[in-house]
């Protein structure tokens, strides 16, 4: 009898019947998150309906040494919520109460299962909104956003989740509740809030989030610029920033992506353009009008073939609609696609896009690029057919090479999707063994027994050694006393 089997009666005791899923069929929806290629049947699924039940689940798991994998809405793209067969999958979706919207203090206090968009919807009657808007915002939960430090299309101006969360309540695996920050703009002590954001549920379980709300901009203005080459579009991105403008959003789509989007939703994208840029400006009407003139001038000077300015909100929405539909649209080009997520300095956009195109030619796998150009955050979609032998492996291998390109360009292997299980190998290339060891020490400071989401986000040194990615200096392995398998 393994630990999970021993823990099961205790879990049944602390959870109501509907809160514990044992039946293999009923557990199936929890086998993966948004990274569906990586699946595992969870040992048990616990869906606590209250923080009290959540604490009880953690107490049982702690007592029986059972691993706990937290899960929000399951929209994550890096396998951060991939379950364990001998563990408990801890779904937080039922902790979905908006505790308070406080318009004068411009904060909302919510439980982790509240959907990202639901926060903005609740704040809208007060003229306020929650800024980070990952593309999954209709479904993804704020707890998951904190775990992954989610971004979105408006990060350039408004920042990521970490820049918009003011307070957290976090349960440690020992069942202790850490109260970090609150409705204030700073907090005493170490910035543990920053540490929790993006920690992929490995340091604690978020039970409450206080987010900053911002006034809804009076006006939004959307421009669409077409370019004859990827390079000129990429250069225009840098030129806009260099001109002192920080747009709310600055997105690029290449010809493959615009073609797919146009075929899917018919929004009037120019099909002959090698790339298009979508630029959104927001603020007070007068300010936006001033910025728009400058952006138009910069885009024209950067060699735009055509610059369209949305005449009204409906036209702006239509321009965005194609961008937002781009992923499903690309999904129609091939049976499967593999979405990558790396960030590079903006100045390297043109050269890295060119290198990705070369990889595509070499491997024969198509690539569509739809991404947050203003942030240098690439999302190459590698097209493949999982039913065609070898293609999945080829796509994964090409993805690894794309991430290596990002690191070589001075960037990072994940801009906003997280490491999860997907990018563990890529992490070996980005960080040396001593640095990975420090990350493991951070984990141990909060969860010394390694029960929370084990095996995610930070690769073991053994894994990196096996990959050959270990930084060997002068022929000597760092930490020779650490066993490598």
């Amino acid at each position: 009898m393994n630990a999970l089997e021993r823990a099961r009666p205790a879990l049944q005791k602390v959870l109501s019947a509907g809160s514990l899923i044992i039946d293999p069929i009923a557990k199936r929806p929890y086998e993966s998150d948004g990274l569906t290629a990586i699946r595992e049947q969870p040992g048990l699924v616990a869906l606590p309906a209250s923080v009290t039940e959540l604490k009880a689940v953690l107490a049982v798991c702690r007592a029986f040494d059972v691993p706990v994998v937290p899960r929000g809405a399951g929209t994550g793209l890096s396998g951060g919520a991939r379950p364990q067969k001998d563990g408990v999958l801890l779904g937080l979706s039922r902790l979905n109460r908006i505790i308070a919207v406080d318009p004068d203090n411009r904060v909302a206090v919510v439980q982790p299962g509240v959907r990202n968009l639901a926060i903005s919807e609740a704040a809208a009657p007060h003229g306020l909104f929650y800024a980070p808007d990952p593309s999954s915002q209709i479904a993804c939960s704020i707890g998951g956003n904190v775990a992954e430090n989610s971004g979105g299309v408006h990060c350039l101006k408004y920042g990521l989740t970490v820049n918009n969360v003011l307070g957290l309540r976090v349960l440690t695996i020992d069942g202790e509740e850490l109260v970090l920050g609150g409705a204030t703009l700073d907090a005493p002590g170490f910035d543990l809030l920053a540490l929790m954001n993006g920690s992929e549920g490995m340091l604690g379980i978020v039970t409450e989030v206080t987010v900053r709300l911002l006034p809804i901009p009076a006006v939004k203005s959307v421009l669409l610029a077409s370019f004859a080459s990827l390079e000129s579009a990429a250069d225009a991105v840098s030129a806009i920033i260099a001109a002192g403008i920080v747009p709310a959003g600055l997105e690029m789509m290449d010809q493959v992506a615009t073609g797919a989007a146009e075929a899917f939703v018919q929004v009037g994208y120019p099909l002959d353009a090698a790339a298009i840029l979508l630029c959104e400006l927001d603020g007070e009407a007068a300010d936006v009008a001033g910025q728009r003139l400058r952006v138009e001038a910069v885009l024209n000077a950067a060699g735009a073939v055509e610059v369209r300015v949305a005449a009204n909100a409906a036209e702006g929405d239509r321009m965005w609609y194609g961008r937002k539909a781009a992923f499903p649209a690309v999904g129609r080009l091939a049976p499967d696609y593999y979405c990558m997520d790396g960030t590079i300095p903006r100045a390297k956009l043109a050269s890295v896009l060119r290198a990705i195109a070369d990889l595509s030619a070499e491997t024969g796998l198509g690539v569509a690029n739809v991404f947050h150009a203003g942030d240098g955050n690439l999302h190459p979609l590698i097209l493949y057919d999982a039913n065609s032998p070898g293609q999945l492996d080829a796509a994964v291998s090409m993805g690894e090479r794309v991430l290596a390109l990002c690191v070589a360009a001075g960037g990072t292997v994940t801009g906003e999707h997280g490491v999860g299980v997907e990018k563990l190998d890529a992490m070996c290339g980005q960080f040396d063994a001593p640095t990975l060891t420090r990350f493991h020490a951070v984990k141990s400071a909060f969860d010394p027994r390694g029960l929370l989401n084990p095996g995610k986000a930070i690769p073991t040194l053994a894994r990196c050694a096996e990959l050959g990615g270990m930084h060997v200096h002068g022929g000597a392995l760092p930490f020779p006393d650490i066993e490598r398998l």
Binding site: L180, A187, D191, I241, D432, S444, I458
Partner: protein, 347 residues
């Protein structure tokens, strides 16, 4: 001395340390701390900008770079360090600013210093140098150890260099001044804070509310119409930031408190003089009130208080958070070498 030489020498120093070391920049914020413990570990000679790409909105500089030099280099390219950390006595280094973690008057609108730190090069107590974070804004690879250095008071290691996000300097800035009581000024900034106006700093002091508006010509002109008031002097912002107003004089026998509160929270019932920044979120108070009384009143309103004029008078964390702080400290500085007694919030 080259970077390699400097790092080699400081690594050697740390590796050989048998007792505590006190990391020293230019000492402009020394008054915040208690007694000196350990040998000095000077780092202010490790200075200069390593890389600055204006179109990337990122600057990377060595820890000993003075804030003045950094600001000057950015200004030449029409950019600013948006968090605008204070330069007490007109001095201060990047490393010191990160250690203390204070941000300037624009913090609620432009972000805090912790928001713009993208990456650090960190020397830990193991005598190892690591790169955490990077030079790009979006980066979720590994725990956000870089940001944690902000406000860690050098207790987790020596920040040798840091990459910071910078912002374009607004095309136009205007400062306006409105006569207002504290209560009226507070109500005004809370109300204005709910509107999408290009306000980028507020300060109420001596019965006057000062507002800074930033943006395009057209945007600022419109906002001036909305907020009203008289055109004021823009120098108020650096004067307040660097505590050059008589209000901040700490030789008066009055304690100076830095009080962080939710923007709309009422004023705690403390007799004293006030100065209010950050749209109500940061309130300074000069008072003779009992320290524990001040802390308790502020805590009851959801805030925290730092007795700024008292050595080691920092706002405190609770015992549980303190336990985890010590464990984190241990993960980076197991021998407890760096900046002993300065783990923040430990009372």
């Amino acid at each position: 001395m080259s970077d390699v030489q400097f790092e080699a020498s400081i690594i050697e120093r740390v590796a050989a340390a048998t007792g505590p070391l006190q990391i020293c920049g230019r000492g402009s914020k020394r008054f915040l701390y208690g007694r000196d413990i350990g040998d000095y570990l000077p780092v202010s000679m490790h200075r200069g900008i390593i890389d600055y790409q204006p179109s990337e909105l990122v600057v990377t500089a060595r820890c000993g770079t003075s804030l003045a030099q950094l600001n000057e280099a950015l200004a030449e390219r029409g950019q600013v360090l948006a968090a605008d950390p204070p330069q007490f006595g007109g001095d201060g280094t990047l490393g010191g600013a990160i250690a203390v973690g204070l941000s300037g008057p624009g913090r609620p609108w432009y972000g805090a210093l912790r928001d713009c730190v993208l990456g650090v090069r960190l020397l830990t107590g193991h005598g190892e140098v690591h790169s955490f974070g990077g030079q790009v804004m979006k980066n979720v690879a590994g725990y956000d150890v870089a940001r944690v250095q902000v406000g860690a008071h050098g207790t987790l290691g020596v920040v040798l260099a840091a990459s910071l996000r910078v912002l374009p300097r607004p095309a136009v800035e205007a400062t306006v001044t409105i006569d207002a009581s504290r209560a009226d000024a507070h109500a005004t900034v809370v109300k204005l804070g709910r509107r999408p106006l290009p306000i980028t700093a507020t300060c109420w002091v001596a019965e006057k509310l000062h507002l800074r508006l930033s943006g395009t010509d057209q945007g600022v002109a419109h906002a001036l119409d909305v907020v009203g008031g008289e055109r004021g002097d823009a120098s108020i912002w650096s004067v307040v930031r660097d505590h050059r107003l008589p209000f901040f004089d700490t030789h008066t026998g009055l304690a100076l408190w830095r009080i962080s509160l939710p923007v709309a929270a009422p004023f705690p019932d403390i007799a004293g003089e006030w100065l209010v920044e950050w749209g109500g979120a940061l309130r300074w108070c000069r008072t003779t009130a009992d320290a524990e009384h001040v802390r308790a009143l502020v805590a009851a309103l959801g805030g925290h208080a730092h007795e700024f004029s008292a050595p080691a008078g920092f706002a405190r964390v609770d015992a549980l958070v303190g336990t985890y702080q010590q464990r984190l400290k241990h993960a980076f500085d197991p021998k407890g070498i760096f900046n002993v007694d300065r783990v923040p919030g430990m009372g």
